[in-house]
Amino acid sequence: MHEQHHEHHEPGFWRKYIFSVDHKVIGIQYSLTSLLFLFFGFSLMMMMRWQLAYPGQPLPWIGRLFGEANMPEGVMVPEFYNQLGAMHGTIMVFLGVVPLAVGGFGNYILPLQIGAPDMAFPRINMASYWFLFVGGVVMLASFFLPGGAAQSGWTSYAPLANIAPTGQTAWLIGMIFLITSSLLGSINFIVTTVQLRVRGLSFFKLPFFVWAQFVTSFLLLLAFPPLEAAGVLQLMDRVAGTSFFLPSGLVVTGQPLEVSGGGNPLLWQHLFWFLAHPEVYVLILPALGIVAEVIANNTRKPLWGYRTMVYSLIFLGFMSFIVWAHHMFMTGMGTAMSTFFQATTMIISVPSVIILTCLAISLWGGSIRFTVPMHFALAFIPMFAIGGLTGLPLGLTASDLHLHDTYYVIGHFHYVVAPGTIFALFAGIYYWFPKVTGRMMNEKLGKLHFWLSLIFMNGVFTPMLLIGVAGVSRRLYDQTGYAHGAAVQDLTVFSSWSAWLLAVAQIPFIINFLMSMRKREKVRSDNPWEATTLEWATPTPPPHGNFPTAPQVYRGPYEYSVPGRSADFWPQHLPEEAESTQPRPATT
């Protein structure tokens, strides 16, 4: 491929930074937007934690800012608590973690790692960001509707969601925008990965990060449409008076519901969880990808069991479609169906364990550099292990009898997503920051951010596992009314304080992030981590079109410490004969 010299009209501000079709700009847009939403979603939870720790107490200083409807005299009302809960979940999953992991990291890094000049469909890429943006605005605006935002959990179970205030309709509309964004993005990722790999880059020479994004995209493509269908059906129920999810004979606050009836609340649950289970793998797979990259780079040796990891990834993706009803064990499910889903749930733990074990074994025989990204990537392993292990008692019906819908579930999934995925995302930010900005983030602030976050993450979520075993249900505005809830109130208070301190622990990160972007001292190399994958072979930051000349790939993605070579890394794109370790490809 040779360069095309179009007329070099320098695009104006709007085309260059706001409505750009360049995957790198779009990746940054996704990343900044989702970081803001993560901060917002986290703030919602911090307010909830006040009510949980000190039920019925006015929130100091800021309590009265939320209006008479939500917090009269600064005391949260249950409806507002439920809004905070539903929107915390929705925003963190659909506007925070996934857009950052897939829209942010995926968009920026994937084309670079395969040597492509951009995504296969740059304009669709831009459209997918703006659909996310509109969806986010709708979700935020819903707080100001009469009755407030959605308040039936992020799970929006019928019939509660059917009869909920207007905010639920806004939630459904917002979800349609977010789902559309996701579908457009996943089509782009799949086509790009298959069609735009450079010469020599066969599938089994791809970085694990690319594989992870590739499988994730299939999950998004095939799992989201049933939720979209369900959203349409719930919209019809709410707006057109249908009864898809409403059986006959319902009486709400003494008044019979004037609907045709004949519907089934479990239909919503099946359609919802058909997406939402694969969705949790969407939350974790890109993180596994990032951790794999950082570990290979900082152990200075190839990943152990790369092929096994890839096959496990594919198997995991496939299995994720047939475990969904393990979220529904307590709905009156019989033995045949529950046996099937318990079995598939046990089976799906196998590839996860394999991938995590391979990552751990990759440490053996390495030369481990404890860089800041490596701190986060290493901590990911035990944290994700706790998350995964705590899934076991939930996946078996007999133990789920006691643990279903308790704080044990909250502890389980937060371990996977918070000190799991979010730590991996931090690792990715510290790791790829120099490629995007040309500067390294400050190491001391990074390590401070790491240690405080690690301690306080565990402070928030370990108590939840105990509170759950003690029998406390989730989504309770005030658990102290129950004897078993009052008995663990100390743990609840501890969890809340850990959460607030966790927020404070993010300050070094925010300062580091903002100040490092603009600092004078730049990196002296395009490849400061001495990595092997193609994104480090571009100029810093990569220009429009990414590679001045298209690279060619000669070897696997993690050729570190190859015997007989002077340097301890051998980039993918350097021809066999080149002894030089210069990251820039030779111009002919």
Binding site: P302, M330, V350, V353, P393, T397, S399, T406, V469, A487
Partner: protein, 255 residues
């Protein structure tokens, strides 16, 4: 029951099958702990032994890790055993092996936003017919006024009394949204799904006062949808039933 009944791990167990649920939970956590500690030791060993330092180099193709394969196979076998030998039998017993209705106390529980209607059949042992059109603030169960069987029916709102050492069969339903019937000390959770009536059973082996909680978000009052569970001696239970029965007037339409 005092504060010692509840703590930072499993609450006291009052149910006959509760012990098996507890056994499974504890066994799983032991397995989880052993795996975590084992992997953790390997993990920290690597971090220390293979840290980058003067003269130390990474090895390109280090080990063939047979132990890892055996651990993996061990995990699969452990999971299979947990599933087949522990979870499935307990679940099957809970779902299928119902006590005979003549040996049990049969109760209907109708959940609503935000209360539990506990429907006893009264002296005649027969439940009156209920239908949504009869529901009113003075007839929360919707008992048909023309059905003589319902005349002596009792609705003990938010109060679930039953005798110790006797199985109880609950027919669980809901008027409006999904609720969930949860008694932590009985290790019992069952969702109430609109449009369905789900049958569950349990048997308490100890007397005492316990909590019934709603375990599925059902609206703004979800957190206060608490029922008082009282496991009584047979005499105390009989006395309580008599008191409730005498409150029911001849027409039986006050509930």
């Amino acid at each position: 029951m005092g504060e010692t009944a509840y703590g930072w791990w499993l609450p006291m167990n009052v149910a006959t099958y509760g012990g098996e649920v507890d056994y499974l939970i504890n066994v799983i956590h032991w397995i989880m702990g052993i795996l975590f500690v084992g992997w953790g030791i390997f993990f920290f060993y690597c971090l220390i032994r293979f840290r980058r330092r003067e003269g130390q180099k990474a090895v390109y193709q280090p080990i063939h890790a047979k132990p890892a394969k055996y651990v993996e196979i061990g995990v699969i076998i452990a999971e299979a055993i947990l599933l087949l030998s522990f979870s499935m039998p307990v679940w099957a017993r809970f779902k299928h092996e119902f006590p005979a209705e003549k040996d049990a106390l049969v109760v209907r529980v109708v959940a609503e936003q935000f209360a539990w209607n506990v429907h006893y059949s009264g002296k005649d042992g027969r439940f009156g017919r209920t239908a949504p059109q009869f529901i009113s603030s003075s007839n929360l169960l919707g008992l048909d006024p023309d059905d003589p069987d319902g005349k002596d029916d009792i609705n003990a709102v938010n109060q679930l009394h039953f005798p110790v050492n006797k199985p109880v069969i609950v027919h669980l339903s809901t008027k409006d949204v999904i609720h969930s019937f949860k008694i932590p000390v009985m290790r019992l959770t069952q969702d109430a799904i609109p449009g369905t009536e789900i049958k569950i059973w349990f048997e308490a082996s100890r007397t005492g006062q316990f909590d019934l909680a709603c375990a599925q978000l059902c609206g703004l009052g979800h957190y206060r949808m608490r029922g008082a569970v009282s496991v009584d001696t047979p005499e105390a239970f009989a006395k309580w039933m008599e008191e409730r029965q005498s409150e029911v007037s001849g027409t039986g339409t006050e509930y």
